[in-house]
Symmetry: C2
Subunit: 406 residues, 2 copies
């Protein structure tokens, strides 16, 4: 099949492109390289040494004889070029990773809020409008996030996208109605994903676009079968306060002998999935495309949930690091339960890698191996959700101003 | 109070500005005049002769001694200027009308879809981000639409914004949860209003912004108490196929002796409100502002519902026009019930003008009076919702190609 991977230079997009190319598909990577520019803006870099996308594509060809085609294109700003590209290439599948994806970055300043909304809304909407206009019946697979639901549930399991509700009818009876599971996004980034859902619902209903939306947990792990084949195929590993997820922060802190910094009580529960499982899920979703006229197909793409403090304890045990509780820069519930229904992927044959099995490899093969590249000053998470929280971010539990870097 | 009326040069914004100025408030009209540009793009004009905004403000001053302040500013494209304006003027209330508001226009071509999404999303988000950034605690009153719910209800009354649902909890029990009443927008325009709701929910929750969202029905009528005071204060009256609502189309068709064109069976039910009631509702909403930390306050701003065929029959009776059924260019349910809860405005003292009372004035004082200005070729609604529907738009019920203009 001919597959367009939008955002194919990113953390999940790159291993997905390799995985699908390895299976013999014709893979086109479309990316505006904004993520690399943001590294420059923030003055940070991937822990793993990452080559240019052009060089990575060349190496993949050397190693496997297969070609990856790279196209520099801004989905959000170049509608006409996007349309022309689709019209020329007519992909069978479009996998859409191309959004600004860090919650802390989206909350940094008003400029970052505006950028995230403009970029993400226009990227997704331009894609949908262009598919309708070019009359291309591609299967669109989009990466959404578990985070849209806001972790403030009343203690119910999160279903796969839809909820049946009962409403009172005018004649005094009741009727069942299926609705999109209501979202309550907790950051500007998550808000854009919640808005994406409305775009998808409309274009599936009005134009019969075939759309799968994968509500993904936090992706961890660096290597997949394909990235292991050559040093220069290695995936990016973000550990800075904006793009590094909590797990990566812990791994890096352990590697440099710094305490694992837990925000608040660490009672927040989050969903996780290994990068190898993530690329496999995308393959499984490809094999199970909706038909025109179907509602948007929604999968929960995660394999396990953990409380942040348990995660810290797990890594502390593996690495002998200490744990330090800090004030939380995010506006969120201090403690939450999270139970997620992921029956669909399990029934399609997903066989998960667990944190308990895979984490030691990350500690040894990634965090320790590249520890010399760590910029210690970039590890703390400093983007605060509100003005009030900004005041407390760099204070310890007693309210003393602290510096996290020795 | 100091009030910013965003989109204050438009059909609802202009009489709102006059109404509030008349009550002694300091009113600032902010508008990019895009609506006037769209008139130029489409080659149409308001039925009523409409002066420039600068001239209208001058006349208002001549007639009443009061000042309206006009600022040319694009909310969607000029974030920094918007922020500077807010910072300088620090309004107490911001009334936000500044969006592309015609469903047919939003479906015209892919360019119009992209424009509508970009303009509306950025306008609303820029406003919210700028209020947070400038730390201005203004009451934001936004105009949304009844149409977000998509008229495909299972026969339940549309509540004022929120719905209580019962979900199964993990411990086998049940819990009540309040959710935003689920939307199912039927056009790109309506979709942007559904996305606005998510923006409001987030900024109310994260930043304590005080927001009222008025889900308005179709506004009809031309005059308010203030627009009547001088010929040159007259409000705009759109009758073209894109911006003219169904009621205006009927009025114009009757005035030029053309049959009233009903799309499909005319079994669609819609909600209506007179422009005089609309400006009064905004005044009432101003007087009932939410507190910081409150959820978004949502009102249904409409006073009556009618089936399109009944509306046609009513106007046919007043004017002796005939009725002609045509294929429907929209993708929508052929027949729908619509019952809307509007208890909040009634309890605040709204005393509605009904269609039965007010319609004859529109026929005589507006449609007939300005009939010489009608461009007959611009009356038909021709923007089709999908490729397939585009094929049938200009055919009569037997499938014969027709021309609507004699
Ligand atoms: N990484 C995670 O833990 C995780 C979890 C849940 C969901 N997701 C979702 O998966 C997707 C991919 O995440 P990731 O971690 O690979 O992010 P990433 O930032 O590493 O990759 C995104 C890629 O998209 C590109 N991009 C952004 N805007 C673009 C535009 N307008 N035009 C063209 N390219 C553009 C960037 O340059 C980048 O290469 C995102 O949508 C993200 O929200 C990721
Ligand atoms: N007219 C109706 O029947 C009706 C019904 C329901 C809801 N509404 C809502 O009420 C609001 C006003 O409707 P209307 O009929 O007065 O529309 P309108 O098009 O006459 O007025 C909108 C005004 O906003 C301005 N505007 C648009 N984008 C802007 C931007 N980016 N920056 C600055 N100004 C901008 C336009 O120039 C115009 O003057 C809209 O949001 C609409 O969705 C209207």
């Amino acid at each position: 099949m001919k597959i367009a991977v939008l955002g194919g230079d990113g953390f999940v997009g790159w291993p997905t492109s390799l995985h699908l190319s390895d299976q013999g598909h014709e893979v086109h990577v479309i990316d505006n390289l904004s993520r690399r520019w943001i590294d420059a803006e923030l003055g940070v870099q991937s822990l793993t040494p990452m080559d240019s996308i052009q060089e990575r594509c060349r190496i993949w060809h050397d190693v496997t004889g297969r070609r990856l085609h790279f196209h520099l294109l801004d989905l959000a700003k170049e509608y006409e070029r996007l349309k022309a590209w689709l019209d020329e290439h007519k992909p069978d599948v479009v996998i859409h990773f191309a959004e600004q994806r860090a919650a802390p970055y989206s909350m940094k300043t008003d400029r970052h809020k505006v950028y995230t909304v403009t970029n993400n809304m226009n990227a997704t909407h331009n894609l949908l409008a262009a598919l309708v206009e070019t009359d291309i019946d591609a299967h669109v697979i989009h990466l959404g996030t578990m985070g849209v639901y806001g972790y403030s549930s009343v203690g119910a399991a999160i279903p796969e996208g839809y909820l049946d509700v009962t409403v009172e009818t005018l004649d005094g009876g009741t009727a069942k109605q299926e609705i999109l599971y209501p979202t309550k996004p907790g950051s500007v980034y998550h808000m854009t994903k919640s808005m994406d859902q409305i775009l998808f619902q409309f274009y599936a209903q009005n134009d019969g676009l075939r759309i799968t939306d994968l509500h993904q947990g936090i992706v961890w792990g660096t290597h997949t079968e394909q990235t292991r084949r050559h040093d220069q195929l290695i995936n990016r590993f973000d550990y800075d306060g904006d793009y590094g997820t909590v797990l990566n922060r812990f791994l890096i802190q352990a590697a440099i002998g710094y305490p694992l910094t837990v925000h608040g009580t660490g009672g927040q529960t989050r969903a996780f999935i290994h990068i190898q499982d993530s690329v496999r899920c995308i393959e499984l979703a490809m094999g199970d495309a909706p038909k025109a006229g179907d509602r948007v197909r929604i999968f929960n793409q995660m394999t396990e949930t953990h409380r942040i403090r348990d995660l810290a304890a797990l890594i502390a045990k593996l690495t002998e690091a200490e744990v330090l509780n800090l004030p939380n820069p995010r506006k969120e519930a201090a403690e939450n339960d999270l139970v997620v229904d992921n029956a669909q992927f399990l029934s399609l044959g997903l066989n998960p890698t667990t944190l308990a099995e895979g984490l030691m490899e990350e500690v040894v093969d990634v965090a320790r191996k590249f520890a010399h590249r760590i910029d210690r000053s970039r590890v703390p998470a400093v983007s605060a959700w509100t003005r009030d929280l900004a005041e407390t971010v760099e204070r310890d539990p007693e309210g003393r101003k602290i510096r996290l870097v020795s």
